[in-house]
């Protein structure tokens, strides 16, 4: 399992998500990995440590005493000019919290696989997205993966995206705990040289070890400068989507698997659509296929780049849909529904109120007409929170979601905006 796959011909293998991610890390061959084990991420670090022990990577592997230290050491290494990585899950991720913001603020292109797992309390080791969703405002790029193949592909692309000179932000690649991390799938691997060629040599934007250009990192920054620096960080988020597209396209040329900001599955003429991320998207696709056979115009939008949120492209993709259900594998505990639901609704506001598009040319009267027309057309959006703590989501549950969407279209009645799917009443 953990043996080297450094042969010349291996390309298509059976692997778990964790194994695929560890393999991608071996091929990326980072300068430094500082990590602490936590279920269900443990295997990534354990397998990678065998690569280190066997001399298959040149990585300096730092065994730390906590995830806070893991991220701290990774930040230190990155600030020193190293290509640095770590990996975590759940409580470990939560323990990294303050350092996450520092990694982003220091503009260090750290890449971190995160195996999504529920947060305590109550304690639970299984999948939901509560851990990384909480860090959606941390300044990190967040990319979600549907399966082991995507986790592998996303990790390699994340290096290029994070390190892009237009971006320089840390990136986390998320995959569902156990469902993807421990599920065995067939994964198509790249050759080592292909990965190395694709990611290229790392040229840090700055380095503490560059004695010819001495710098101070992390200096005190008061009311007279802090705002400017944070404004600059916000600006770095803007080009991310474009870089993600460029890298995804280039990756497609290399592998035949190109990637966008999201996957629009049978969405073009869809009347009802589900928005989901992670492994649930795969289950939803099966339901979409089923419904299409019955003549239902069902579609799916699977979010890949969640942060920064590619709202314009998502709005465009969903604007023709009549009823949308957003599936959230975490709750915001705010009475507002799940995080993805809140984002989708906020994005749709512009569409429904004429802020999106060519309305600038209308006179006041025309603008109002256009607004009214759009108000009528705006998709109905409902939210389902599901799968917390690893609760299964199956075809039947998703069928019910589409049935409700069809009923909304037929009756015009939306009903409860936020529901919980698969919980005992």
């Amino acid at each position: 399992m953990a043996g080297s796959l450094e042969q010349e011909t291996v390309k298509f293998v059976a692997m778990t998500g964790n194994e695929a991610v560890a393999e991608a890390m071996r091929q990326i061959n980072p300068d430094v990995v500082a990590a602490y084990p936590i279920t269900p991420q443990t295997e990534i670090v354990q397998i990678f440590s065998t690569f280190v022990a066997d001399g298959l990577v040149k990585t300096e592997f730092v065994t730390v005493e906590s995830e806070h230290s893991a991220m701290s050491a990774t930040i230190g290494a990155a600030a020193a000019g190293a290509r640095a990585m770590t990996a975590t899950s759940s409580q470990g991720f939560a323990l990294m919290w303050e350092m996450l913001y520092i990694a982003a603020g220091l503009r260090l292109p750290i890449v971190m696989p995160v195996v999504n797992r529920a947060l305590s309390s109550p304690i639970n080791i299984h999948c939901d997205h509560s851990d990384t969703m909480g860090a959606r405002d941390s300044g990190w790029i967040q990319i979600f993966s549907e399966n082991a193949q995507e986790a592998y592909d996303n990790l390699i692309q994340a290096v290029r995206i994070a390190e892009s000179r237009d971006v320089l932000l840390p990136a986390m690649v998320c995959m569902d705990g156990f469902i993807v991390s421990h599920g065995m799938e067939s994964v198509k691997l790249l050759m080592d040289e292909e990965v190395r060629g694709f990611i290229g040599e790392y040229e840090p934007a700055y380095s503490l070890l560059d004695v010819d250009h001495p710098i101070t990192v992390g200096a005190l920054d008061f009311a007279d400068w802090y705002f400017e620096h944070k404004r600059q960080e916000a600006a770095a988020e803007a080009p991310v989507a474009e870089v993600v597209l460029k890298v995804g396209e280039e990756y497609g040329k290399l592998t035949g698997r190109s990637y966008g900001l999201f996957e629009a599955y049978r969405l073009d003429d869809a009347e009802v659509a589900v928005v989901a991320l992670g492994s649930t998207a795969g289950t939803a696709k099966a339901v979409v296929d089923e419904l299409r056979q019955k003549g239902v115009r069902a579609g799916l939008l699977k979010i890949r780049l969640y942060r920064p949120f590619p709202k314009d492209a998502i709005v465009r993709a969903l604007s023709g849909v009549k009823a949308i259900a957003v599936l959230d594998r975490s709750d915001t505990f705010s009475t507002m529904g799940g995080p993805v639901f809140i984002d989708i609704k906020a994005s749709m506001y512009d569409l429904m109120h004429g802020e999106h598009g060519e309305h600038g040319e209308h006179d006041a009267h025309g603008a109002q007409d256009a607004r009214e027309a759009r108000d009528m057309q705006g998709p109905r959006i409902v939210n389902y929170i599901y799968g917390l703590g690893g609760r299964d989501i199956d075809l039947e549950q998703i069928r019910k979601v589409y049935e409700r969407l069809q009923a909304i279209v037929a009756t015009g009645e939306t009903g409860e905006p936020v529901s919980y799917l698969g919980v005992r009443e």
Binding site: A219, A223, Y226
Partner: protein
């Protein structure tokens, strides 16, 4: 804290180095941390025996020494912690901590003259630096 109007002519977010980096060494002396002070050390040259304990202990390198002798206190960087006054030998007590507001109101100019006495070259150098600065380099 420098949040007044004088900040508006500093560099904007598009022009500052990435990540809040300070890309030039030795710029801390341009940052006037002395504005935080609530208590001001007032140094009495008549009492001072030049043991330099204050100079050793000052966490902000604000005790100004020339040729082995204390010549003043850099009030632009002294944060008023009082360590110098504490370390000054109890039989000497050449430094007294005075409320900043009182020091400003009562001694005003006199305190300034005494404590900010600097070598003329040092002062000139500072002025030059400030001129060429064009905003904080951070």
């Amino acid at each position: 804290m420098n949040t007044g109007e004088k900040d508006w002519d500093k560099k904007g977010w598009k022009d500052v180095p990435i990540a809040g980096l300070i890309t030039e060494p030795g710029t801390a002396r341009r940052y006037k941390t002395g504005e935080w002070r609530t208590h001001r050390p007032v140094w009495d040259p008549e009492k001072c025996i030049n043991c330099l304990l204050c100079w050793i202990y000052c966490p902000d390198s604000a005790i100004q020494v020339k040729d082995g002798k204390v010549v003043g206190i850099d009030l632009e960087h002294c944060k008023g912690c009082g360590i110098c006054a504490h370390e000054c030998p109890s039989k000497v007590r050449a430094i007294n901590m005075v409320l900043e507001s009182e020091a400003e109101a009562e001694d005003g100019e006199k305190v300034k003259e005494e404590t900010m006495r600097e070598g003329e070259e040092g002062e000139k150098e500072r002025k030059e630096e400030r001129k060429g600065e064009g905003g904080n380099e951070k």
